[in-house]
């Protein structure tokens, strides 16, 4: 299953990167979302899957799944939520100011 999950993570990365490389700002935001999903799955796969009980101490349980990747991912989910919402606000602002959502047209100017 780990191998399959690695492939799925790879697919999520690939589609995410493809979206990231587009011109339209909304596609870029979607791309970052896909990349963070891929990263979470990737980290989870690293810690081996389905070995033992959920990481909550209970009587009688011998093995627990690795809690460390889960802690990392939990942090990451929250952060990527923050990043996504910031990006959305930023793209709104950029659109209002520049009247375009085409990133190829946003190149600054010589005097900046």
């Amino acid at each position: 299953m780990e191998i399959l999950m690695s492939i799925l993570a790879g697919i999520l990365f690939a589609t995410g990167i493809y979206n990231l490389l587009q011109k339209q700002i909304l596609r870029i935001v979607i791309g970052t979302g896909l990349i963070s999903h891929g990263a979470h799955l990737f980290i989870l796969t690293m810690g081996k899957l389905k070995r033992g009980a959920p990481p909550i101490l209970t009587e009688g349980a011998e093995n627990y799944t690795d809690p460390l990747p889960q802690a990392l991912i939990l942090t990451s989910i929250v952060i990527s939520f923050g990043v996504t919402s910031f990006l959305l606000a930023l793209s709104y602002r950029a659109y209002v100011l520049n009247e375009t959502d085409n990133m190829e047209l946003l190149r600054g100017n010589e005097n900046d």
């Binding site: 299953m1 780990e2 191998i3 399959l4 999950m5 690695s6 492939i7 799925l8 993570a9 790879g10 697919i11 999520l12 990365f13 690939a14 589609t15 990167i17 493809y18 490389l21 587009q22 339209q24 700002i25 909304l26 596609r27 935001v29 979607i30 979302g33 896909l34 999903h37 979470h40 990737f42 989870l44 796969t45 690293m46 899957l49 070995r51 009980a53 990481p55 101490l57 209970t58 627990y64 799944t65 809690p67 460390l68 889960q70 802690a71 929250v78 939520f81 923050g82 990043v83 996504t84 919402s85 910031f86 959305l88 606000a89 209002v96 100011l97 959502d101 990133m103 190829e104 190149r107």
Partner: protein, 775 residues
């Protein structure tokens, strides 16, 4: 001794506070005691029996670099010059610089320089020496550019820095090679292991690197071009750095390594050859200048060339004469710079074509200038020190040769003639400087200010220096045994005893001096008749032009390179970053043979998981093909919710819960943003662009899969999670291990995470609240 080196540096920390009172007390008065105390401190070392002093402080013990200070005759002479002239220059600057200037900056740079220069001449460790060496370049840059609102100042500062730092870097190369071949970083030890260095295959390279360092610093041909432009600095700086101390650092370096290098034919050829060219070229060009300080700059170049030439000879008489001339040059050139500064200060111009006839108005300055210029010219009078060292130079130039190599012997035979030639022009520009400024017709209307004599405070320093000129001239043997002989001994290796006398009888050096005075006087008074000879040198071929074009070329080249990849397209930058990442990672996997795949330790495959995975993959591709934004976000939601189902299956309840909530809120947020953003469009790239994107995305996905599989298949280390499982309850008091890790064991990380969210929230608020639109 370390306090002497570090004292000025420590003082810089207090200058900003002292600067606040500058309107009541000039900042210079506070700092005046520092170089004076250092001067007194070094004065006590003067004795006929100087035993070298050594102090060691650990600096970077792991690299075997120690802060070694070493004081012998050579260091002592330089330390006295640095602190002595430093005191006088400081005194002079108090009257020269107005209180409305940024005095704090000036004195910080000056003190920095003083420390750096003392460090150069007192350190025994080559790496320490190098560090201080670069500090002198840096402070020189800051001081030349002190009046940074002037374009010429900035140009001069940059030029001096580029040239001296270029030399500094080759010096670094030289000392690294030196310390590797000699297996020590101490100059003392290198001199003891002289044979190892001379016989090493790197010896020619070491020579080249050291020479580049020394020649750029001491403004030797063809690197001399920075010194005339450095004259944009305030005059106290020119008097201090660019005549008496910093430009002599190169001479110090050559002198310091003389015990190792002197006597080698290559050493004589390069040092004396370049030195004599510099002497002739510098003095020849000085006559052409119209700026008082320009004349002095070329004069300094030529005098430095003369000292270099003598060091290149490496004979007893030459080394002694070189040492004597270092001292003499510092006295007369320092005072002449100060006089030039006074003239500039009182008349408002340094253009010799406008000046003239100042003798009647500025009698004291005129007197000072007479002594200074006549001493520089080598006029044979018993109270001018310049004459003594010049005659010793002639004397020593007759006593070289015998190398057995035809080219070197020809050079040795030519040097006396070239020496006379250079000295004739020295005589000419000295006279030109004096008569052009102080004699002749006074054009009071052409001067920006009405000239009058400078205040006494400003005259005090040049008076003291000229006093030195006369005293050394009258009683040269007072400084001989205690100071000069000690210095010469440090350079030559053996004790040198030489009696300095004014009259040696009718011998060749005397005739040479007479020829200089005769021909010099003749040329000086017919100058306007032959000065057209300078027009023969077209501007196009000048070294300045070469420098300017090199710098311009470097600018253009780097700009075209930068423009080549920085075209402003963000997409392009992301592509470049990703490609670099892909290339490096795949190369690493390939080189280390890191990729491995094994299904020995995998969990079983279940149908539910496969279905969820396939759905997720399909949805991920779907985001690319849809051009409806609502559809796109719902499809993205499918991926997110699919992930939370996977979290449930893989026994991560906390993750599943969080993912569900976050995904829901994210979808809501997207919908909110859509209200303001335009509709998604079809991907409308060219085929080529799209192809590149597909390749990059595909490779990156492949990379992540490969890394994931390899990481799973080759577990080299035991997971560290067992620690958390064991201690979750005992240390954290919680049964949910993930929660304990987050809020307890890695509590600080979580705190920062919350901070990040808070900052993001503030930024979002600002972005939305700010209603300003495009002007």
């Amino acid at each position: 001794m370390i306090y002497a080196v570090m004292g000025p540096l420590i003082a810089t920390f207090f200058i900003p506070f002292l600067d606040k009172w500058k309107h009541r007390i000039h900042t210079g008065w506070f700092l005046l005691p520092i170089p004076f105390i250092i001067f007194i401190y070094f004065l006590q070392f003067i004795s006929t029996e100087l035993t070298p002093v050594r102090e060691t402080y650990p600096w970077i013990p792991s690299l075997n670099i120690h802060f070694d200070l070493y004081l012998d005759g050579l260091s002592l002479l330089f330390a006295l010059l640095i602190s002595g002239i430093g005191t006088l220059v400081l005194l002079y600057s108090i009257y020269y610089l107005d209180r409305s200037e940024k005095l704090g900056h000036f004195y910080i740079y000056l003190m920095l320089f003083m420390s750096a220069m003392l460090g150069v001449v007192l350190s025994d460790n080559v790496f320490v020496l190098y560090t201080f060496w670069e500090f002198t370049s840096l402070s020189s840059f800051l001081l030349i550019g002190y009046w940074h609102h002037r374009e010429r100042s900035r140009y001069g500062a940059l030029k001096s820095m580029l040239i001296t730092v270029f030399g500094g870097l080759s010096l670094l190369g030289g000392i690294i090679l030196l310390s590797m071949t000699a297996e020590t970083a101490s100059i003392r030890a290198m001199i003891e292991h002289k044979e190892m260095i001379i016989n090493s295959p790197y010896f020619p390279l070491i020579l080249v690197f050291l020479f580049l360092g020394a020649f750029t610093k001491s403004a030797q041909f063809p690197f001399h071009i920075w010194l005339p432009d450095a004259m944009e600095a305030p005059t106290p700086v020119s008097a201090y750095l660019h005549s008496a101390t910093m430009v002599k650092a190169g001479i110090y370096l050559i002198a310091r390594f003389s015990p190792i290098l002197a006597g080698e034919p290559a050493f004589f050829m390069v040092v004396s050859g370049i030195g004599i060219i510099t002497l002739c070229w510098g003095s020849f060009m000085a006559v052409r200048q119209t700026d008082l300080k320009g004349i002095l700059a070329f004069s300094t170049i030529s005098q430095l060339g003369m000292i270099m030439t003598m060091l290149g000879f490496g004979t007893k008489a030459a080394v002694f004469a070189a040492v004597f001339h270092i001292l003499n040059h510092a006295t007369f050139k320092g005072s002449l710079f100060m006089v030039a500064g006074i003239v500039d200060h009182e008349t408002g111009t340094r253009d010799i074509r406008k000046l003239g006839g100042l003798m009647a108005l500025m009698p004291v300055s005129t007197t000072l200038a007479i002594f200074g210029t006549f001493s520089m010219a080598g006029v044979p009078l018993p109270f001018l020190n310049g004459f003594y060292s010049k005659e010793m130079f002639f004397d020593s130039s007759l006593d070289i040769g015998g190398f057995g190599l035809p080219f070197l012997d020809a050079l040795a035979a030519a040097i006396p003639y070239l020496a006379v030639l250079g000295s004739i022009f020295t005589f000419v520009y000295s006279m030109y400087f004096f008569f052009g400024t102080f004699r002749g017709r006074l054009n009071i209307n052409e001067l920006p200010k009405k000239p009058h004599e400078a205040p006494w405070g400003m005259l005090a320093s040049p008076v003291l220096l000229i006093g030195g000129v006369i005293l050394i001239g009258l009683f040269p043997n007072v400084v001989n045994e205690p100071l000069l002989a000690q210095t010469a001994k440090a350079i030559y290796g053996d004790a040198i005893h030489k009696h300095i006398a004014f009259w040696h009888g009718l011998n060749t050096p005397f005739y040479m001096s007479m020829a200089v005075v005769g021909a010099g006087a003749l040329l000086a008074f017919t100058r306007h008749k032959w000065s057209r000879v300078y027009d023969l040198f077209p501007e196009k071929w000048s070294l300045n032009r070469v420098y300017d074009q090199t710098v311009e070329g470097i600018y253009q080249f780097s700009e075209s390179v930068t423009r080549g990849y920085m075209n402003g397209s963000l997409r392009r930058y992301v592509r470049l970053i990703l490609l670099a990442m892909i290339a490096v990672s795949f190369t690493f996997l390939w080189v280390t043979d890191g990729f491995s795949i094994s299904n020995a330790d995998v969990s079983p495959i279940s149908l539910t998981e496969v279905m969820v995975a396939v759905t997720m993959a399909a949805a991920a591709f779907g985001t690319i093909y849809t051009s409806n934004r609502i559809a796109a976000i719902l499809i993205l939601g499918v991926v997110g919710y699919g992930l939370s189902i996977l979290f449930v299956i893989y026994r991560a309840p906390d993750l599943a819960l969080t993912q569900l909530i976050v995904e829901t809120v994210t979808v809501a947020l997207f919908l909110l943003a859509f209200y303001h953003l335009p509709e998604l469009r079809k991907i409308d790239d060219h085929k080529q662009e799209r192809g590149i994107n597909v390749i990059i995305a595909g490779l990156f996905g492949l990379l992540m899969t490969a890394v994931g599989i390899s990481a799973h298949s080759s577990k080299w280390f035991e997971p560290i999670s067992s620690y958390f499982v064991e201690t979750s309850y005992t240390l954290g008091g919680g049964k949910n291990i993930v929660n304990v890790i987050l809020v307890d064991m890695r509590g600080l990380d979580t705190l920062f995470e919350i901070t990040v969210l808070g900052i993001a929230a503030l930024a979002i608020y600002g972005l939305i609240k700010n209603r300003r639109t495009r002007e």
